[in-house]
Amino acid sequence: MLIYIAKRLLIALPTLLIVSMLVFGLQHLLPGDPVLAMAGEERDPETLARIRASLNLDQPIPIQYLRWLGGVVQGDFGTSLRTGEPVSALIAQKLPVTIQLAVMAMIFAALIGIPTGIIAAVNKGSAVDWAANLVALSGLSIPNFWLGIMLILLVSVNLGWLPASGYESPFVDPWRSLQTMIMPAFVLGTGLAATLMRHTRSAMLGVMSADYIRTARAKGLTRREVILKHGFRNALLPVITLTALLFGELLAGAVLTEQIFTIPGFGKLIVDAVFNRDYAVVQGVVLCTAVGFLLMNLIADVLSVLLNPRMRAAL
């Protein structure tokens, strides 16, 4: 097992290198001058040139990349052009927020998507199946901003139940943290639920016709036991892989939701950084989400291996 994990980590390194090169290259090819973006309304050419030089932006891109890489290897991700903060500090600040949001959203998505997927599968073709599909697909096609703003207007403004926005760390005030996160996590979760539901459904459809399900029924087990224990346990594997993919997307993809609920996470950070051409931040955050993404995949694979005795034995 440890060998397997080590092997996977080894494989992840080239991927990270590719990611960083891609991001670096693309960013620098983007139109829009970070120096101009940084200078704001100040546009004195001399100032611009000086800023450019001080940030090494006048050097050839490969050199800039190598410098940056050199820093990263030593744990230095550079500083934000915009606020002057070290990128590592920024990441340390946002990462927990993003993770909290992603985890909670994933929980919502799973709570909605997986049961509906199962129910739809065991009732394939019936009205229940239709209803479950409709609910899931509406989650997919209702825009997050709409749901978000409607929830704020309803729950916060009209009912006054939850704070409209803001963020509190769970370590400071767990209760308020939960309160501020519930709505955004729900909004994000509904979007993912559809994908999860559709794939759970098809995995379950495949599993429920397996021979061992018939065996389980022949043993006289209850429907519940047959579906959940024997069926779902087996359908879980593809669902886990998918969940990891979705989770990876969540790490960087929650921009709109973060914006609406003013949650200081990665999504907003990276969008602002891209718009401001804050290269170091973009680099750092993308690299970090890539690590997160690969880690999630690793965890998913490890989980699948653990859940799948056949693969477990192959290790």
């Binding site: 590719i18 891609l22 693309l26 599909n133 096609s141 709409w146 703003i149 993919l245 891209v274 993404f293």
Partner: protein
């Protein structure tokens, strides 16, 4: 010859027509087909329908609620939402369908090659796919917006390319399981080339999950088009698309909620439509399903 022969079903019609009969018999798929066809017809017929000019503005009709004159209301600069919905159908449907097509047409072959050949090819493709999956959509989109220039078709390329990695992964995983089937080995045994095996033996057998994913991606693509037009890549104002209408409506959710309803509802319907068609296709393409 003997017993076994007589068990055969009555003469079967040709493959293609059978596909259609099966598809047509599937009620859900037909509902989906009708929905999509309806919107597609609207999109095509937009120029000849007796509706207002979707670009005509009226300073005296800013954000009017639905009424006889503006059946779906008017927008933030006094345009008729109904006619914008109809004209916008084209951009949105194209964004949904063509970008998914691009994603599938590029992702599936790459995944096929990775899964089929394995080894180093697979390693390299997989590493790149992971890297692409970890790349933020925004950066790719801005870069493409800059390099390709602003147009709807370039937006579709951008969306398509960003949806591609998922299809690579999905295809690869499927291929890995199908390629061990006897019939694939059989194809090799009769001396078929790799291309022919991939095209005729593997591809048709890995289609179902790809269809599921593709129909789900249609929704994301329609919505993504709007965020791209925002970056100067998609349908450019004032030309309408559902996504960009929704995007604008976001700023008037409390003042003019109907501005969000219509494009939202249309996207929802189209997504349902495509998913139903997808389910139907999957069943109809499978000769085993009855």
């Amino acid at each position: 010859m003997s017993a076994a022969d007589t068990q055969l079903a009555p003469a079967a019609p040709r493959a293609k027509s059978r596909f259609w009969t099966k598809f047509r018999r599937n009620r859900a798929a037909m509902v989906g087909g009708v929905i999509v066809a309806f919107f597609a017809a609207l999109a095509i017929a937009a120029p000849i329908l007796p509706i207002d000019d979707p670009l005509a503005t009226s300073w005296t009709a800013i954000r009017l609620a639905p009424s006889a004159e503006y059946p779906m209301g008017s927008d933030e600069i006094g345009r008729d939402i109904l006619s914008r919905m109809i004209w916008g159908a084209q951009a949105s449907l194209m964004a949904g369908v063509i970008s998914v097509f691009i994603a599938v047409a590029s992702g599936v072959p790459i995944g096929l090659i990775a899964g089929y050949f394995g080894g180093w090819t697979d390693t390299i493709i997989s590493r790149f796919t992971d890297a692409l999956l970890a790349m933020p959509f925004l950066i790719m989109a801005i870069a493409l917006a800059a390099f390709l220039g602003p147009s709807l078709s370039n937006a579709m390329i951008a969306i398509g390319l960003s949806a591609m990695p998922i299809f690579i992964r999905l295809t690869r995983a499927q291929v890995m399981s199908v390629k061990t089937e006897d019939y694939v080995e059989g194809a090799r045994a009769i001396g078929l080339g790799h291309m022919a095996i991939m095209r005729r033996y593997i591809l048709p057998n890995i289609i179902p999950p790809i269809i599921v994913q593709a129909t789900l991606t249609v929704a994301t693509a329609i919505i993504a088009e709007a965020s791209l037009s925002f970056l100067g890549l998609g349908q450019q104002a004032p030309a309408p698309s559902w996504g960009s209408m929704l995007n604008v409506a976001k700023n008037f959710l409390t003042q003019a909620p109907w501005m969000a309803w219509w494009p939202g509802a249309a996207i929802f319907l189209v997504v349902i439509g495509f998913n139903l068609i997808g389910d139907g296709l999957r069943d109809a393409l499978d000769p085993r399903e009855h």
